[in-house]
Symmetry: C2
Subunit: 375 residues, 2 copies
């Protein structure tokens, strides 16, 4: 099998992640901080260490980290926690995932918020700062959501430029790093929330994700429940990461994340994925029957490449690649509703998405190219 | 180590659960239903089979099952999804966990709902149906929340009696089976929602939980995001379990649950835990310095026993048991705020909770008793 669906979930994981998760399940899968016994305390210490490992990736304290079960849950907690009110305007990039788009539209049913798409230039994929400034002046941004790397196109968004402008208007800034953190780490400047997905670019297993609250902003409580502390209080803690962590924490998945971050810091995953991305694009560019969704300058494409094959629907391409070549890609709209208007793939039933991981090889890229030669 | 904190999370798990989870992580940890390739489809089939295994436990269709990351998340999704409005009254038993209590109190900040505690008789722990009927007549129940087994006292609540009355008043009925499903299964009569926690009585790992929607009630959307389908639609699916399953599903934890349910159906876990519970209670009753929190007739206590030791705070007992005897129990209020007024442990800083699992032995109970002899 040639696995090229790493944007859905990275596979495989580093060997030490598998071993750690297996060991954690067998030997220390306790309910951290909820017991009086030393094994529960040890589990708690490992969780705190993992918060700091995450914080180190962008140079902030581990105390900013709240663990959730998925980036989707983290984004829901932020979006509903911001306390948006009637008349507020939020801006999203055209590259945002439904984990941002759907909670915002769901919130719009009860709060009369405006949801606006940030202007980007179609040819260059650059942020249209001048136009955005006009938009912001007209409708002040309350919150601005940007993906660090687009899950459809692999585009590294110019979040610094967007957030610098957003902060001039006092917006809360949220960077969705589901496809980047661990491999490509953002700065910690002008960002209020960094969202991460353990099972994607962080190379951990399913079951751990969350957000970093860089400005220590106090969100309204969205999910509440037991915290193992202050049980007689009917409210969640007033502050700290515990305010956003109701229910048993998945200490086993966090143990895997602890190892995967250590592994990431010792390996050049960004450069490896970048090299394979460049190789893939250069090969695809030579093929007349392939439509590539990239900007003129593709240096900003990382790990993910979307294409279409002339004469074939995306799903047909995916099925043939799986059935005849044992190559796994993903096809369709990839839970990202606005990007297809931007890149022009809406009428083509979306794209065929090829997404590269740390364990893919040049040979696998060559085999994909050979398979595409048969179309 | 003698592990007697199974109400926090069961430990250990059946060997086949460990092996299945390890195998799933290594060999089929794909993003189910989000790929065009056969491996993703196989993962999806395993998930659907697991829904039916859960359904079989109470004789309903697997299509009623929505997977979430924790019982806490499942309860939040139900509580906020019910569409409670100003003036609505919800009833909870005095045995409810903060996974029920805190979301209700948090909701009360924006909706003027009444939260009432169901009447129970202090001596017998029986449901006071007559008084409840008076309450319901005065303030009609919109929703009634009952734990199947109390996480503090091990008490099997008379949910049939409570829900039969509740249904006469048209209430939505929610049974929290976090401490029971798999070991002690409820009926499917007069119940709208069954909540389950994979890592507790179902003997799976962390990362899988959820609810069964027995009446196919349409909840408002609480958590939204990608579903791997209909990506251009800004809304969650109109119906079906997918409406409540945003984000990547934890297929690895579900694979473990698939195995643990099969294991539970082949083993007499209920009887084993019952026998050890009865042994424990009979031994504790003989000790003058132990205060046992049980009703006069303790046949309804299953798996969990709360005590206090005269002259010691609960946390001191837990610490001594851990440090001197390597016995793990939990101490304090156990995320359950009302039960301590009911049983009288509030002023004693809660209880020492001894919770029994499938792998505990008579010898371990004897060792605990010997350890308590030293106090």
């Amino acid at each position: 099998m040639i696995y090229l669906d790493n944007a859905a979930t990275t596979y495989p994981k580093p060997e030490e992640v598998y071993r750690t998760v297996e060991n954690a399940n067998r030997n220390y899968a306790f309910n951290a901080g909820r017991g009086t016994y030393k094994e529960a305390h040890q589990t708690l210490e490992m969780i705190e260490e993992t918060r700091q490992l995450l914080g180190n990736l962008i140079g902030v304290s581990g105390s900013t980290v709240s663990f959730e079960s998925s980036a989707t849950e983290a984004l829901n907690i932020i979006i509903y926690g911001l306390g948006l009110e009637d008349g507020d305007t939020v801006y999203i990039s055209p590259f945002e995932h439904n984990a941002v788009v759907r909670p915002l539209y769901n919130l719009q049913k009860t709060k009369n918020i405006n949801i606006e798409v940030l202007p980007f230039i179609k040819e260059t994929w650059e942020f249209d700062a001048e136009k955005a400034n006009d938009f912001f002046a007209l409708k002040k941004p309350k919150a601005v959501f940007v993906s660090h790397i687009s899950n459809v196109t692999g585009y590294i968004l110019p979040y610094e430029e967007i957030f610098t402008l957003s902060k001039k208007y006092g917006a809360v800034t949220i960077l969705d790093c589901s496809q980047s953190l661990g491999v490509l780490n953002p700065s910690n400047i002008n960002i209020d929330f960094v969202v991460f997905a353990g099972h994607k670019s962080l190379y951990a297993t399913f079951g751990v994700a969350g957000f970093m609250n860089l400005s220590n902003m106090r969100l309204n409580v969205v999910k509440s429940g037991g915290t193992g502390s202050d049980s007689l209080n009917h409210e969640m803690p007033e502050g700290g990461n515990g305010r956003y962590e109701a229910g048993s924490i998945n200490s086993v998945a966090i143990a895997g994340l602890n190892q995967s971050i250590k592994w990431l810091t010792k390996n050049q995953v960004y450069q490896h994925e970048k090299d394979l991305t460049d190789l893939l694009i250069s090969k695809l560019q030579k093929k007349d029957n392939i439509h590539l969704y990239i900007p003129d300058n593709y240096s900003k494409i990382q790990g993910i490449v979307s294409i279409n094959v002339e004469g074939y629907s995306p799903i047909d391409v995916g099925t043939i690649l799986s059935d005849d070549f044992d190559i796994c890609v993903r096809t369709g709209y990839h839970c990202s509703p606005f990007v297809h208007d931007f890149i022009g793939s809406r009428e083509r039933m979306g794209t065929v998405r090829i997404s590269i991981g740390a364990f893919n090889t040049e040979s696998e890229i060559e085999q994909l190219i050979s398979a595409l030669d048969t179309f």
